[in-house]
């Protein structure tokens, strides 16, 4: 059981800056994120896309923004719990007991939900029949590539994951790559390689088709694909792999008794607390009159939520507002000397 002042759910820019503000006012926090890396949507959806509306930063990429925020909170040495997801919350004696999917437990008076639009999960095949084989022979990520040796593998998708795995597995498996159109969004060099492998018959490349059904009798035997005009083909398959990127799912957050407005959590704009005492929501996941889904709004929300957390973390102390330019206490916390 880890005792802390605040558990932050989500390591995107909003969660990171909220952590910074907590550090500045002398609170400790633990940060949990479902992704295997820090940065949230910035790093998962648009690491290379320039952002033009961060105040005083005319232009930076999602990756640069993330790296700068990580640098900014370094002095506080906060712990990150990546590839993990907060699953359960329970209130006991005004403390929240937090359990994660990987079995970690926290005790904290405050939880800050900075979860964007929820956690990233792989997008799955729309076909019902694929669910039966999910995790066994229908896969959306690869942990152990040796299982595919000498097997028939049908890969769906047109991005880098699909292309890279098609190239990699073509060395030791019978690979068929299926994509819904002729153009691929993967790196040009990979697209070129795929075309070569297809020309010399190392892989089967089928475009303008998508999945229709998976078939098997206990174990997976084949996959049926269809074109838009209704033609269909059946391909022998021991494994079917789908690489359609990630989607955002609200997940367990929906089960914590919080008021929800569609997929967002209503908050007050004084300290961004939700209908549950000690649970705050900031960034894209919160809503209030006038809400803008901008990173800069998330920063503001995080700063105010951090002050809201102070009240429950230090009930016997009075919060005193200080500037980083003037306060020696803050400078000590940042480890800077003058």
């Amino acid at each position: 059981m880890i005792k802390t002042d605040v558990v932050i759910i989500g390591a995107g820019p909003t969660g990171l800056f909220c952590a910074h503000q907590l550090g500045i006012i002398g609170l400790k926090c633990e940060i949990v994120d479902n992704l295997d890396k820090i940065g949230g949507q910035c790093i998962e959806l648009y690491p290379d896309k320039p952002i033009y509306d961060i105040p005083a930063v005319p232009k930076c990429t999602g990756e640069e923004l993330t790296n700068n925020l990580i640098e900014q909170i370094k002095p506080f040495n906060f712990n990150f719990h990546l590839s993990d997801r907060v699953q359960e919350l329970k209130n006991e004696n005004n403390k929240w007991l937090v359990k994660t999917l990987n079995g970690k437990e926290f005790e904290t008076p405050n939880i800050v939900i900075a979860g964007g639009v929820g956690s990233f999960e792989p997008r799955k095949f729309p076909t019902k029949s694929a669910e039966k084989y999910d995790g066994k022979s229908v896969l959306y990520s690869i942990k152990d590539k040796t299982i595919f040796r000498d097997k028939s593998v049908v890969i769906f998708g047109g991005g880098d994951s699909a292309l890279d795995w098609a190239i990699e597995l073509s060395n030791s498996s019978k690979v068929t790559l299926v994509h819904r159109r002729d153009e691929f969004r993967g790196a040009p060099a990979s697209v070129q390689k795929i075309k070569e492998l297809s020309d010399n018959k190392t892989i089967d490349l089928i475009t303008k088709y998508s999945i229709k059904d998976v078939k098997g009798n206990g174990s997976l035997e084949s996959v049926e694909i269809k074109s838009e005009s209704g033609e269909s083909k059946v391909i022998k398959a021991d494994y079917v792999l789908g690489f359609f990127g990630l989607i955002m799912q609200l997940g367990p957050i929906a089960e914590w008794g919080l008021n929800l407005d569609k997929k967002t959590i209503p908050v007050n704009t004084e300290n961004f607390e939700t209908n549950k005492k000690g649970i705050f929501a900031i960034g894209d996941i919160c809503t209030y009159p006038g809400k803008l889904k901008l990173i800069l709004s998330g920063f503001h929300e995080g700063a105010l939520a951090a002050r809201g957390c102070f009240k429950y973390a230090r009930p016997d102390e009075k919060y005193r507002f200080e500037f980083t330019t003037a306060s020696s206490t803050i400078k000590d916390r940042l480890g800077v000397k003058e």
Binding site: V117, R123, P126, G159, H179, R181, F244, G245, K263
Partner: protein, 107 residues
């Protein structure tokens, strides 16, 4: 201003007058029309505002897809050759009378 007809997968029809400059996606969200999620809020990074333009004449009349829209559509639920992301369809008087069909689901 353009009158846009949104037809859900189950056939339910909704009509909305949408101001010029907004997107077809925003027209749906602001009028509480179900069937369009728009998780990313119009950033062309989620493919949850996916619609079909079943009328071929209309499909050809729409502004061409910009780079990246087809890449996102690859990740949409059941994309077809008449698929568009409704966040990329910006309303002008020219779009008056456009009908969009929503897919069975957005993810």
């Amino acid at each position: 201003m353009a009158k846009i007809k949104y037809i859900e997968f189950n056939g339910t029809e909704h009509e909305a007058d949408v101001a010029n400059g907004l997107s077809v996606m925003e027209g749906a969200i602001q009028n509480d029309i179900p069937g369009i999620d728009a998780d990313c809020g119009g950033g062309m990074s989620c493919a949850t505002c996916h619609v079909y333009i079943n009328d071929d004449e209309w499909f050809k009349k729409l502004p061409e897809k910009e780079m990246g829209e087809d890449d996102m559509l690859d990740q949409a639920f059941e994309p077809k050759s008449n698929s568009r992301l409704s966040c990329q369809l910006i309303i002008s008087d020219d779009l008056d009378g456009l009908t969009v069909h929503m897919p069975e689901k957005q993810v």
